[in-house]
Symmetry: C2
């Protein structure tokens, strides 16, 4: 078994270092190999996703990804910017199923923007399609408008599109996840406006026939954005397309108050997966030992569960993280009165010790 | 001056009736004329936006719109569903500028999902483009895919597109609004992924040259969805496209905890406007006198301000609404301990009395 380690930019290297500590202490049989990605790869190889990094990712069973991005790359043309690395990995490896849990740990209820009773016990799984939709749909570009409100004017355009098999495969992932949880699935679309969404909805209804034990509900994206704020615990598993999923998964993660705690998994049809924390590269605090490594450490648990078939080890890591929280250890992002403030490495060491 | 009154479905008729009471007590010189819209129009004329209703809207200086939609129309084909009326009015009247305030009234801080200190004093203005984007972009439909991940499969598609003049005119509306407020404008896009967004951003930067006194900030839509939850008061005026605006304006409205209090205005280039509450038709409570008429009453204030050039009357209405809140009157949606619970008509009457 091989794990590609891609620390990336900003706080990426320091949080990934702690996750690697955790993986190593488990003494399982796998090989770790590191490579540059994002801005760090651009600096060294003039490309955010060099061929060598992509080749390593392809050969690996799983990828541990830190974060990419830094203001200093903002002026680069789009195709060279750090985030292209993540889009390129998703596309090239066919990582169509993004699983993003939004969990509010009991110990961290106070860190949420929401009133405690609304988030205590929150546990949502967002299943976001990750290789289709308007993210990758062709054609796209700039041109002179030949119709619309201002024919003759310069315009830009993108194409939202989903084919039936693309929708079906993500629907199966979502229904199966729902089956293992509370058997309630909410599909989010904008079928009152978009053809793609109506097709999405029709296809979900078709796949639902294979999962009669799961309750399927449809919700418009604007309403979902509202209900997440108003009654987040009314959701269990939520499935949606790439664009709406981008927005709603970040909204849901933020509701928990501890995005520094949230891992994510992006899987293809052979369970090869990319694992990355839900938060970003936070260049403003990089290199200062302030970053919370727990999301990345929890990524290793998801990796062991989904790609490396080591459920027991996954649970050990999750239990160890619970233990350090219960001990009262907190990085600055989740620190509150009466708890013990620790840095990135101390937090990683505490998890290792708990293991 | 002529006002078209389109009550619509669900709670629409009862909330609009209260707003009409308020308009009438002002004894200003304008004519009110009512027409059916949405499901109510479908029932009578087999179309949610009959020719006669559209003609009335065209001839009017302003439109007072209640709400449309009811589950019983869910099975109709899309072009006949109630919400097509609102899309048709926007398109036919060229109502490209949607102004959606998200204000948290001091008296209602407790109704928010958010901790009080995060929303007390919240006052955001969302400027949403309303006649372009993927809502109306052609081509759209279903077809057999000729490329993409599954060539040969059935697929659906929509086109996101914006031309330079479409972006420029909404940008001017937003910069001018920002100039009258705190001179800070946040433009929301997804320029790291979408061509349309990069063009949006470039065009905003161009228009910004005419407003050197306003500070322009760009933010990705996923980050905006997060920051609205985390630090809503960090926003003042926010401008975005039709699709992102749909999601973010509903998220922001919900954060205030009192969507039943929030009016909206949709204007064209001759200041003709459609005014509707930010909430929906709530068929579950229709006809029971439970609905909050204040959003619709506040719509009449926006109407007087933007389309009828009666600023003094607009301010009188807003002051009257403040007064009934201070008196402790509350419809069920905003009711809390220690306040007086009233019904739809009682609330309307109280505003009339305060005037
Ligand atoms: C960096 C960006 C392209 C990416 C996305 O939009 O998918 C990110 O926001 C995410 O959600 O992983
Ligand atoms: C009813 C629907 C078509 C409409 C929209 O998406 O614009 C509504 O959600 C709104 O925001 O006014």
């Amino acid at each position: 078994m091989k794990i590609a380690v891609l620390p990336g930019d900003g706080i990426g290297p320091e949080i990934v270092a702690e996750a690697v500590k955790v993986l190593e202490v488990l003494e399982l049989k796998f090989e770790l190999e590191s490579a540059l990605v994002g801005g760090a790869a651009y600096d060294a190889h003039a490309h955010p996703l060099p061929e060598s990094t992509l080749a390593l990712a392809r050969q690996s069973d799983a990828i541990l990804f830190g974060a990419v991005g830094d203001w200093k790359y903002d002026q680069l043309e789009r195709s060279l910017r750090p985030e292209q690395a993540i889009l390129g990995l998703r596309k090239n490896l066919g990582l169509f199923a993004n699983l993003r849990p939004a969990v509010c740990h009991a110990q961290l209820v106070g860190a949420s923007s929401l009133r405690p009773e609304l988030v205590a016990g929150l546990d949502i799984l967002i299943v976001r399609e990750l290789t289709g939709d308007i993210y990758f749909g062709q054609p796209r570009g700039r041109r002179t408008a030949i119709d619309g409100q201002f024919p003759g004017a310069e315009e830009a355009f993108d194409t939202m599109r989903y084919s039936r098999p693309e929708i079906e495969r993500i629907a199966h992932v979502a229904f199966q996840a729902a089956r293992k949880r509370s058997k309630k699935l909410t599909s989010v679309d904008k079928a009152n406006v978009l053809e793609t969404s109506q097709f999405w909805r029709d296809t979900l209804i078709g796949v639902h026939r294979e999962y009669p034990d799961v309750e399927l509900q449809h919700m418009y994206v604007d309403n979902a954005a509202m209900q997440l704020v108003k009654a987040p615990k009314s959701f269990d598993v939520l499935v949606t397309g790439n664009m709406f999923g981008d927005i709603l998964s970040d909204e849901a993660a933020t509701l928990t108050g501890s995005i520094g705690m949230l891992p994510s998994a992006s899987l293809n049809s052979s369970q090869q997966g990319l694992y990355e924390p839900s938060h970003g590269s936070a260049p403003d605090i990089a290199g200062q030992g302030l970053a919370n490594p727990l999301a990345t450490i929890l990524c290793t648990a998801l990796m062991l569960r989904f790609s490396l078939n080591q459920e027991a080890a996954a649970q050990r890591i999750e239990a160890a993280v619970q233990q350090v929280l219960t001990q009262g250890l907190r990085t600055p992002d989740i620190h509150s009165e009466g708890t013990t403030r620790v840095g990135t490495a101390q937090m990683g060491d505490a998890v290792v010790k708990a293991l």
